[in-house]
Amino acid sequence: MAVKSNELMTINMGPQHPSTHGVLQLILELDGEIVRKATPHIGYLHRGVEKLSEHRTYHQVIPLTDRLDYLAPMSNNLGYVLAVEKLLGITDQIPERAKVVRVLLTELTRLKSHLVWLATHALDIGAMTVFLYCFREREVITDLYEKISGARMTSNYFRVGGLSADLPAGVEQEMREYAEGMPAHIDEYEGLLTGNRIWQKRTIGVGTITAEAAIDIGITGPGLRASGVDWDLRRDNPYSGYEDYQFEVPVRQEGDTFARYKVRLDEMRQSSLIILQALDKLKPGPILADCPKVVLPPKQDVVNTIEGLIHHFKIITEGFKPEAGEVYQGIEAPKGELGFYLVSDGSAHPYRMKVRPPSFINLQGLPQMVEGRLLADVIAVIGTLDIVLGEIDR
């Protein structure tokens, strides 16, 4: 006869667990299969990005930002360069082509990030095929990244005042074909999942959070929109010319894992529409602002003229010195509001750089989403929160 006991069992999950999406550790107190308490432990990937930035020039910080949310590097680059441009007061001098390319690439990045989210989320719940399909599509974006920036993940492509280089020939056509084909791929994923009874049972009503609780805990992005809060920084506090694009902000009321799944898929459809609009807007023109004191000269000047070389050398070695002050710039990253808070003391290094990482704040919602539910739901909730530990631990 089994011995009955009211004792809770404490188990450790992670940091080496395939469904924790990185080095996340959870201490779970279980009553049978019911989670009574979940305590996340983070910091295994802490690299001190904020401390390091205080010892680098403003341009040298850009490659550090790629390594925060490494599934959406261009979005991180954009948030940081926008904050520096705001600090310098050159936001309105960014050339049109640079702004359009930035929108184009951050929307492509949103697709890239959401594809990894869907792939791993579905894999965790048991749908292997979706994983393979999503990575097939993601591979195309990674190849585009490589053609454009030279790296498949750590792009380091945006610069203060514009872009590091113009788009290579031919990628516009590739991006257009990709964006035109994307809705059909999303239909394919939906065909595998949306009406699937196993998927529905694992997601509907799982990890439900109300709008009030979500705002209180600070959840932003798709997680908040799935709880019925109609708020998107691209539309409400537009940056980089987002006010010129027509797109819808998907919102759902249920606040559960299925609603978050639907919101993200609808966002992917909208992103492919924005990419097509951006491609239509893309006209030849300069890609760097005309602010020689802070903006790097075009590469062809650096390699062909001595003045360009001196100019480049001076900005790279000395950096530039924004006037003392502080700014906060938030952007709608794929995972929520990504914010950069910069304090300048008038020197060539940021006096303080604080990242507001969406994953870090969203992860705080995990305990209240899983407590009182089954252990298997923990896996679904980690997937639906779409966390990246590089960004959480910084």
Binding site: G43, L52, H55, A213, I217, Y328, G330, R352
Partner: protein
């Protein structure tokens, strides 16, 4: 400036607490005394509609008095407006009341702030380190904490 309405309201209600109001690049920063920070934050949430605490962090102004500044970046989801509150904290008395009762999201942000900057949040429900190991000594984001880590030769290469 759209934020002025709440700044005026704040001035009327907490006239003796407001130390400074600064406009820079279209952003409003209000510096307040730390003593009534919980009341001020509750007022900002309930009367100002700043229902989302976007970010909470601190800055170390080593060599100045007061040494630390705790920074609250607030957002109003209804009117889509931002405002920043700052509260100075003395080096000898590096503590401030927690606002995790006002916004639940402040819980981890304050833990991070304690962990990396060493500012104590009085009344915090879970005052543990969050990013550094539990037995770590020191607070790495302080300006007098070497970038290469404690007890190590300073980096001789180029860290321009």
């Amino acid at each position: 400036m759209s934020d002025l309405a709440i700044v005026e309201k704040l001035k009327a209600k907490f006239s003796s607490e407001i130390l400074d109001v600064v406009e820079f690049r279209g952003e409003t920063t209000v510096t307040v005394n730390k003593e009534n920070i919980v009341d001020i934050c509750t007022f900002m949430r309930d009367s100002g509609g700043y229902n989302l605490l976007c970010d909470l962090c601190s800055v170390d102004y080593l060599g100045q008095a007061p040494r630390y500044m705790v920074v609250y970046n607030l957002y109003n989801i209804t009117t889509k407006e931002r405002i920043r509150l700052k509260a100075p904290v003395e080096e000898q008395d590096a503590q401030i009341a927690t606002v995790s009762t006002v916004w639940g999201t402040a819980n981890w942000m304050e833990r991070e702030c304690w962990d990396l900057m060493g500012i104590t949040f009085v009344g915090h429900p879970d005052p543990r380190r969050i990013l550094m190991p539990a037995d770590w000594v020191g607070h790495p984001l302080r300006k007098d904490y070497p970038v290469q880590g404690p007890d190590r030769e300073p980096y001789q290469g180029r860290l321009s």
